[in-house]
Symmetry: D3
Subunit: 158 residues, 6 copies
């Protein structure tokens, strides 16, 4: 039966023991969106054509946050990521699309790293555009794909 | 005309100078959601009635993350928050509602702190339930209210 | 002859080289106490029966601190822990007992991680109860057991 | 009646709102001990006469940890400390004495900063001597004195 | 007579007490260089004309590091910076010039924040170009200007 | 042809994928200098003969910073270092010499860790002496030697 593995039999939270798991090649890919006023998206896109680049700042913020996932999520294992990529693209008229991919040869999955990269990239876009648009919305953020480990390949249904 | 204040006139990113601003009482409130399978929400709710409590772990994660907002968001000012509250509630049949409020007497707003608290609380829920439900979705995350500073009181339109 | 391995032959501090050591399954268990007024312990125990839970907050603080041991202890190796558990229990009339267990398949022991988890859990109890009891005392904190690595199994004498 | 201020009326944990408090000069002094085999203390003392210095490494670790108290203790306010001092002294035949003092002009007390400095200094001594003495004990750690803020001057009874 | 303020009268290191100092507007400006092969500088410059931008990544790294100066430099006060700017420019044929400016209304100077921003921006350039040029050199890094506080305005002699 | 591996084919920054690389024994050694007034160097040297020790504080700062390289350098992999050593020596009449060596059995090199250790040790010397000498200069900082991995042994030409 399904159970929440982050709690032991007495209900206390814990960091699940993965020392008995095999180190395998792990991958996870997550996606997210930031919805904004069309005029804000134009501003983001125009700056990009000039020199400032909201999306590049957000990309770096996402990559750096992925490395610190274990500090932010209480019961997450600290991991030494082998790779992180964050992609951002304007999706006119009113959204920015974010996708992050994390990889590791290790004993536990990297979903949280990919999801954290997307979340912090989205927050960074909010931060950089909030002076002109407070009504922006972040989400939906979700796991798109995951491979490696006992549970096999997962791909989100369209 | 509207402009992205995180870039200077040459387009280079920067942390905006707030040294000339007055220190006033600032407040920001943000909200967010995690959508999950109804069976997952039941599991969360049931554990709560027992001893384990996904929502309490998420609350703490959100509070702690708010304090580190300046480390995560590249151009955000490092702030010494005066208060953070994170509230979580099951919203049957399939969602958890999150709301965070941050306060500070200071020279710059605390929207990012409230939004970061909501985001990391949501990620923590995902982490603790992912073994039983990979299809969860985070969002929409948004600013609900903000006061203090030159720009006056903001309240999101319903 | 016994020597302090954190100093080289000239007396300079250093992080000991473990690259030649074998990666083996390591475990360490540490314990500690917080002594408080009986009335404070009752308050802690009562809140637990309601919804607030000092011990659960302390448990999470301990788990999260264990992951950052390498940042806090200058000559400690940064480690990717495989598991951390922190247990807390009221020990009437006037103490809370804390026990932490850390595990890793790696090149160096995890005593410091277990001891750090206990210490920060104890500090968190102090923080949450200090408004009603400034006279609390933390300790003794000590290593109870350790296994893995060249030095074999250690168990503290009663 | 006494109550645990880190929980709101519904029992949820929170970071207490200090934005209405006055900024006053705050001071806190905490103490702690590390008990070890007499031979270990001699080794510590001898290295000191040479060039390596366990106590100096511990002092720095304590000072640096004090600055990060708000990251470690979940409901602690992030503070910009104005001063930290950590003093260590061999107390023959079998103990090292630690004392830390923290100061801040601010809206909340600095007890946790002083206690964290003592705790991490003690852990660092343990780390540096553990190769020769696993039986060391940390504690008691306690608040010795505190001033500033509404609650007035506190001094521990001998 | 001149003395090193980071040590007390017994020679122990400490974080200097600034609680008695006045909060004034502080500014510090630091500069630094990275010397590289002319072909490497061309590669940096060319990528910039395309989409990748070594200098923009370095700028963000410098800004983010400035915010964490108090964590890196043991006896530095933790500060809530009001502004940081990092400027980078190719200086053909073989150097990149870096300049960072930090500002704060506070009780202590921000030289270390400006110098840390320059240093980490330089390290980031090294990291991003090291696959093509291991012989790069960082420096000289120095303080160019400083104002605010008791010691008055300082400007480096040419 | 040479290319900057930190950018993908579209010019976006990324953390290079090392999951396919072999884990081998890696070593890197970096060096750096701090130039100061002869009177400042004398002060540093004299304190050393007494009890305070600028160079020991700088050594620890360098060791601790090496462990956090992955947090500071945006596209650097987070690594679990196996060893770090930092050596400092007065080089009369007017310089301090710094050398750092990092080691790891892993999938990627440790140059950045050695260079970061040198940089932060140098910044710490600046911090501790700046009250008496603002004109100090840091640099040149450079990679002296590197081994392990596909690219073979590198040793800087004199």
């Amino acid at each position: 039966m399904a159970e929440l593995t982050h709690f032991d039999e007495s209900g206390a939270s814990r960091m699940v023991d993965v020392s008995g798991k095999e180190a395998t090649a792990r991958m996870a890919r997550a996606s997210g969106w930031v919805r904004m006023a069309p005029a804000t998206l134009e501003l983001v896109s125009d700056r990009r054509l000039a020199k400032g680049d909201v999306l590049e700042v957000a990309r770096l913020a996402g990559i750096m946050a992925a490395k610190r996932t274990g500090e932010l999520i209480p019961l997450c294992h600290p991991l030494g990521l082998d790779a992180v990529e964050v992609r951002l693209a304007a999706a006119p008229p009113d959204r920015v699309a974010i996708e992050a991919t994390a990889r590791l040869v290790g004993r536990t999955g990297v979903e949280m790293e990919a999801l954290t990269a997307v979340s912090v990239a989205a927050l960074t876009i909010y931060d950089m555009c909030k002076a002109v648009d407070r009504g922006m919305e972040i989400g939906p953020i979700r796991l798109e794909e995951k491979s490696g480990g006992r549970s096999g390949h997962y791909r989100r249904q369209a």
